[in-house]
Amino acid sequence: MEAFQYWLQGFSVATLPANLMFAFIGCVLGTLIGVLPGLGPAAGTAILIPITFNLDPIGAIIMLSAIYYGAMYGGTITSVLVNVPGEAASVITCLDGFQMAKQGRAGPALGIAAIGSFIGGTFATFALMVVSLPLATFALRFGPPEVFALLVVGLSLVTGLSGRSLLAALIMTFFGIMLAMIGMDPVRGAPRFTFGIAPLYDGVGFVPVVMGLFGVGEILVSMEKPVLEIIKTKLTDLLPNRKEWKVSTGAIGRGTIIGFFLGLIPGIGAIIPTFVAYVVEKKVSKHPEKFGTGVIEGVASPETANNSYANGAMIPLLTLGIPGSPTLAVIMGAFIIHGLTPGPFLFKERPDVVWGLIASLYLGNIMLLILNLPLVGFWAKLLEIRYQYLYPGILLFCILGAYSLNQSVFDVGVMVAFGVLGYIFRKLDWPLAPTILALILGPMMERALRTSLEISGGDMSILITRPISAILLIVAAIVLISPAVRGVAKRAGKD
């Protein structure tokens, strides 16, 4: 009954005209970010944070979240029409989506992607409504040792699941925590590593770092081979035919379940659910050999999983305060900028924000379906903008976003410096997501560890003598050790 009242409260907040408008603007901007190559959802969301400065926190968070899941829709358009994913989660859609476009079936490919995304997103939002309250209530029992262990699990998952080299991923995680140490000590408030530079007293801003690593860095990589070839195709017929509907129904159902459950695991990222959904679809198909030649299930399942994941991944963020991806880390940063801390206490202190946001996810999914089906042709037109105009235009917004956060040219410099680093790390194939998550979670982690040690009088065993904390640390150890064990076993098998 209590949950039902919260749901009603959420809908009453989300349906306020101003919040509906913010959700709509977020959906449009998100789709735009998804469509434009060179601008991923993490950088796109970060760039647009300053727009929300003068907004009420609920409206701001609704808009930024709509940008996040809107980008998931938008990324499909470039995958199908250009064979270049607008964002990483749409990589697998290129395989069959682009082939369908070449056969003149781009319309049904984009249509089924939009419909599947709507179904997946809506299901995940419903599940989010059901499970978030019990999970948040449970998490209220957490003291500093449990919080520390939980953050270690979150970072371990992000580290263990990203990149080819676990060591490189670990170094990138610790690099992020090191960056987080710059500024005021989170426990005593004393300045650290500031070198007398005034802007560093506030720490290294995550917005310039995200925009540098994911925005400028991505553009620099794109500048190596910037020209896109667009498939010219009819976009009049967007709905699949009866046969395609038949095969897509099961694919959408499976994609929904896969995306949602993988979304619950922090750090898994948006790419893995789409790959798993594609592989499962191929396995259950009666004609697996046709995958990659333009079958509609190859688009329906990963695209559904993509959006189901996006909304499912909100669960660890909202209930535990653990962002599962760089984009969610940016959204978490936006929460903090607006004076809100995601986690179990938010459910108690600001239920209007949490339930308003959750309800807005339903409405946003409906808006995206309406926006995407009739406007696919318009979004496709944007792909014809020449890169010589497009990339400077994106950089303009990066400069604007970095500067307006603190009205500081120093932040723009930080963005440029991290842009170069982002370019280098991309070329090296070192993962960037752990750095961003560690930058956001680092101060909380340090605070939780030091407070735990203050409670125990410096005795580290507090972390393993409390059951929840011990279990969480065992999970973290398994996550980090298992890739190494698998590697050794693989090598032993070869020998």
């Binding site: 080819r164 610790f174 280098i424 090296l428």
Partner: protein, 153 residues
């Protein structure tokens, strides 16, 4: 790529040593418990150890996780990247002196031309509309403080 990985590892070792040395400037423990130097001390030690481990792993292994591509772009790609970086750094230098509108006008005008656009008048129109339009939206409508330069623009 192997060499690039090794250099990156050594750069992280250097960063870890630098952080470790600086961490001694802050108290490791105080009367309440771990002090501001506690976390940096352990973090730099672990980062240094991990970086060294990856360095030796990369050096000794015949084949590790590094990609097969090259770090450096081709000449044309490098030229485009340099143009973007020069544009960004140049913009950074004049941003507060000349203000948002003039800086971004120059940025949006010269960057496309340097990247190979020939239609300079169309570029000028786009640059003017882009810089002044964005300023208007963000400064007047969204109330974001953006720099106004020495010419009052």
């Amino acid at each position: 790529m192997k060499r690039a990985w090794q250099i990156t590892c050594l750069a992280f070792v250097a960063l870890a040593v630098f952080t470790l040395v600086l961490s001694f400037e802050y108290p490791y423990m105080d009367r309440l418990g771990p002090g501001p130097g506690f976390f940096p001390f352990w973090l730099s030690l672990i980062t240094g150890a991990l970086s060294l481990a990856l360095f030796f792993h990369t050096t000794l292994a015949k084949r590790v996780g590094y990609g097969s591509g090259t770090l450096l772009p081709d000449r044309l790609g490098a030229l485009r990247i340099m143009i973007i970086l020069v544009g960004l750094v140049g913009g950074l230098v004049i941003f507060e002196t000349l203000g948002f509108r003039i800086t971004l006008l120059l940025f949006l005008f010269f960057l496309p031309l340097a990247l190979g656009v020939r239609n300079w008048w169309l570029t000028l129109i786009i640059a003017t509309a882009g810089s002044f339009g964005v300023f208007h939206v963000f400064y007047y409508w969204l109330k974001l403080p953006l720099p106004i330069g020495v010419f009052g623009i």
